[in-house]
């Protein structure tokens, strides 16, 4: 072989390798020809600058393909995991929980390939055709299989978390496992659901778990080895540390909860990672944890290189209703009181909308989103709600709105910089909270809630400057719990509770297009450009749909 040919082969190989992997630059600008991280970019806005699909042609959207994901040990699956063997054709016993085998993840799309998950399962699918490239199945040791938000990507490597608390790295080209590391103890009822977020050479890894009063944490790990770089605990470690004045004792802190079960957002200029923490434990009674219980139910800003807390804002001081603050902290750059500001907005599970200055955590606006909310005595000087102690669970029950599922939950909101509106699906519900554990040291939840009725669900467009709802669409049937995408095509995509994918005018809520799917939209819709064609991709249960427009 002559040297020229050899050189050409070498160069080609290099190009191919580069083309396969995720160019990190994609993570720092709004994606158009890729969806390289959970929210599309670091901001959590879920706004795309693409406008090939727009108000004038949305009526001509057509189905490009449908993919049905078959979880478990299927023919050709790549098998990993520490759990017992599962025979081919059988879904793991762990996977039989109703509703768990649903696409809640937002697929990443990199170089023409979609990567997405269900608990214990990862798929690579051709983004042009919907054909499967590979499927990876993790044999589980257990853990709650309620959902998985997806994968993170670094070069050619993929990362996902499992219900039995492993961080697993796969080769994106083949689906072959590179390594796995244990991040938490499944026997302590930790279960891991977030999509890892890759920032520089850090993998941001969070976890979940509410049943047995364990402390929450967020970790950064090395993308090459999985080695721990830093670990931030959701509670102070010992009495005397900052924040410990909000707990009665060390024991309450070390069993205080504060899970990190959804991915956060990132400001590259400020070098801060923003994440909402989970509720304190025991979940539904606060007798053994008097105080505000920092840093549970808080939006926290962490230095991405050190894991050090830079600021916090607590959305539910001393929460007793399971209203974690895990909902996406959406980064907004825009005007506030005539000044250009770096801000952060969150539609919180407790029923409030919050706007913060993301350089320092100072509150700019707090406003209730739902009319039925009845648990708060108002807002304090810091913009934090003041919980009404009379609405903490009693043995004979207290009627509370919203229910523990909250006014909103994990489905992704969206911010459209062109309308200046923040979009979120809310539920207007009531529950009765009954105290069931009267011990001075309750364990687990300590109380039980029972649904008492619902006024249904609403898609809301909120003015980020005030938190006021500018327009709303009340769903005539059921609640709306799907994720939201907005685009420069002046479109808002989300799902209702009657199996429709719907396109709205983001300026006024007018319905412009809809399609009936095989199930309710179960993830956040996403969009990308491939071969000059804009795709809209959405998950509904075990189905993944791709739509395009014909010009």
């Amino acid at each position: 072989m002559n040297r020229l040919l050899l050189l050409s082969v070498f160069v080609l190989t290099q190009i191919t390798l580069l083309a396969q992997g995720l160019d990190p630059i994609l993570l720092t600008r709004p994606a158009t020809d890729a969806w390289p991280t959970h929210n599309g970019d670091y901001s959590g806005r879920r706004f795309s600058t693409l406008n090939q699909i727009n108000q004038s042609n949305v009526k001509h959207m057509r189905l490009a393909w449908v993919y049905r994901a078959a979880p478990g040990h299927t023919a050709g699956s790549i098998i990993g995991g520490e759990g017992p063997d599962v025979p081919e054709g059988g879904v793991a016993a762990a996977a039989t929980g109703a509703g768990s085998m649903t696409i809640k993840s937002t697929p990443l799309m990199v170089n023409g390939v979609l990567y997405f998950t269900m608990p214990d399962n990862v798929w690579a699918v051709d983004a042009r055709s919907g054909r499967q490239l590979w499927h990876y199945f993790w044999k589980t040791r257990g853990g709650i299989h309620v959902g998985n938000r997806g994968v993170g990507m670094y070069g050619n490597w993929l990362y996902f978390e499992t219900p039995d608390d492993y961080l697993v790295s796969l080769d994106a080209r083949t689906g072959k496992e590179r390594w796995h590391v244990e991040i938490a103890d499944v026997k302590q009822e930790y279960f891991s659901t977030p999509a890892p977020i890759i920032i520089g050479n850090h993998i941001m890894v969070g976890t979940g778990g509410d049943s047995l009063d364990v402390p929450g944490f967020l970790e950064a790990r090395d993308p090459e080895t999985g080695a721990l770089q830093w670990k931030w605990w959701s509670e102070p470690l010992k009495k005397g540390d900052p924040g410990s004045e909000t707990w009665p004792d060390d024991y309450a802190m070390r069993h205080g909860g504060g899970m990190t079960w959804l991915p956060g957002t990132y400001d590259p200029q400020l070098h801060l990672y923003y994440i909402g923490t989970g509720n304190p434990n025991p979940v539904e009674t606060g007798r053994s944890r008097k105080g505000d219980n920092l840093w549970t139910c808080s939006i926290v800003a962490l230095n991405v290189d050190t894991g050090k807390l830079v600021w916090y804002f607590q959305s539910s001081p001393h929460d007793t209703h399971d209203w974690d603050a895990a909902q996406t902290p959406v980064l907004i750059d825009g005007q506030f009181n005539g000044q250009q500001r770096k801000m952060l907005a969150q539609a919180n599970r407790n029923g409030y909308f919050f706007l913060l200055d993301r350089t320092n955590g100072k509150n700019l606006a707090t406003a209730p989103m739902i009319e039925t909310m009845n648990w708060s005595l108002g807002i304090d000087a810091k913009g934090q709600p003041i919980p009404n102690p009379a609405k903490e669970a009693t043995t004979d029950g207290v009627l509370v709105s919203p229910n523990s599922g909250g006014a909103t939950n994990w489905p992704s909101p969206s911010f459209d910089p062109e309308t200046g509106l923040f979009y979120v699906g809310t539920s207007e519900t009531f529950s009765v909270f009954y105290l069931t554990d009267t011990d001075p040291h309750p364990e687990g939840y300590g109380a039980v809630q029972r649904g008492a009725g619902s006024y249904g669900g609403t898609l809301r467009a909120i003015d980020y400057k005030t938190g006021k709802t500018v327009w709303q669409h009340h769903y005539p049937g059921g609640v709306g719990a799907a994720g939201i995408l907005t685009t420069a095509g002046k479109l808002l995509f989300t799902g209702d509770n009657s199996q429709h994918l719907i396109a709205y005018d983001p300026a006024n809520g007018k319905i412009l297009w809809h399609a009936g799917l095989g199930a309710n939209v179960s993830n956040g819709p996403e969009t990308y450009l491939l071969d000059e064609q804009q795709y809209l991709v959405v998950g509904a249960a075990d189905l993944l749909y791709a739509f395009t427009v014909e010009e």
């Binding site: 709650i144 659901t193 049943s211 249904g456 005539p476 049937g477 059921g478």
Partner: protein, 279 residues
């Protein structure tokens, strides 16, 4: 009861979809499974284990194993969580922990196994938060409840204690009874609550632009479709586009839904206490 116009945005009675959105499933009913699974422990072994625990361990660890003056909470012990059937707990019992002041206990393997079962059962009970038993909800004042029933609650507008509610306190336990008045329509998973007893049936009237109209039991309603079963048993389905056709619904349980925003907790407790007396 008058018709209400859906297009005006008046809320329909909808199902609480708690489990649809909550991160943690309600345990037990199709909601995934815990890290330890949902083992069912032999109740005789739990009972034996409890006796052995109380006599040997309770003094320091508390009779309920949640910790006492000198011993730690064992229901939150990582060692106990990692144990399966006494293989981790056993050596601690037999050897003690001299460094922490815990003496040795010469218990048999069977006793150790029973104590382990008792502890694991306690952990399981704490983790199965969807099925915690409700303790005692009859704390209100029945007289105040009666006054509310006939007064500001306006329950007597539709109900009579000598008629439809006769003996209701014997028919249901208090927890069920309270649930019935808060939201009488039983839950069906995901979406609009349309099925149920005839008395609780949502009625819908669909008026076409031609002037023709159809009325019947609501089967489905979303932004693009409304479906009903008419008095002849015929299923009828209509495409919707905004206000066309005109859709009006009548929910006999609307008052119950409206009350959710009006009850004080005392009203709820008093009304429960009153209804319980209707034997």
């Amino acid at each position: 009861m008058p018709y209400r116009n859906v297009a005006l945005g008046v809320a329909l009675v909808l199902l609480a979809s708690i489990s649809l959105t909550a991160q943690t499933p309600r345990a037990g009913i199709g909601g995934g499974f815990t890290g330890r699974g949902y083992p069912v422990y032999d109740s005789a072994a739990v009972e034996r284990g409890q006796k052995a625990f109380v006599s040997s361990c309770g003094f320091c660890h508390g009779a309920n194993a949640k910790g006492g003056e000198s011993g730690p909470d064992l229901l939150r012990s990582v060692l106990v969580l990692d144990d399966d059937n006494g293989e981790r707990i056993g050596p601690v019992i037999l050897n003690g922990r001299a460094d922490k002041g815990m003496p040795k206990f010469a218990l048999s393997q069977a006793q150790i196994s029973d104590i382990a079962t008792f502890l694991h059962n306690g952990i399981r009970a704490a983790s199965l938060h969807g099925v915690y038993p409700i303790i005692d909800i009859v704390t209100g004042d029945p007289k105040a409840g009666q006054a509310y029933f006939n007064g500001s609650g306006k329950c007597n507008t539709c109900h009579s204690v000598a008629g439809d509610l006769k003996g209701i306190g014997s028919k249901y336990d208090p927890v069920t009874l309270q649930g019935k008045f808060l939201m009488p329509r039983t839950a069906a998973p995901g979406g609009l609550q349309v099925a149920g007893r005839d008395a609780a049936q949502i009625i819908v009237k669909v008026s076409l632009s031609s002037g023709q109209s159809f009325e019947g039991k609501l089967q489905h309603l979303d932004d693009f479709n409304v479906a009903l079963i008419d008095s002849s048993g015929e299923y009828r389905s209509f495409a919707r586009d905004g206000d066309t056709p005109r859709v009006e619904i009548r929910d006999p349980l609307q008052a119950h839904l409206d009350m959710l925003r009006k009850y004080t907790d005392a009203d709820m407790h008093n009304l429960t206490a009153y209804l319980v007396t209707l034997k």
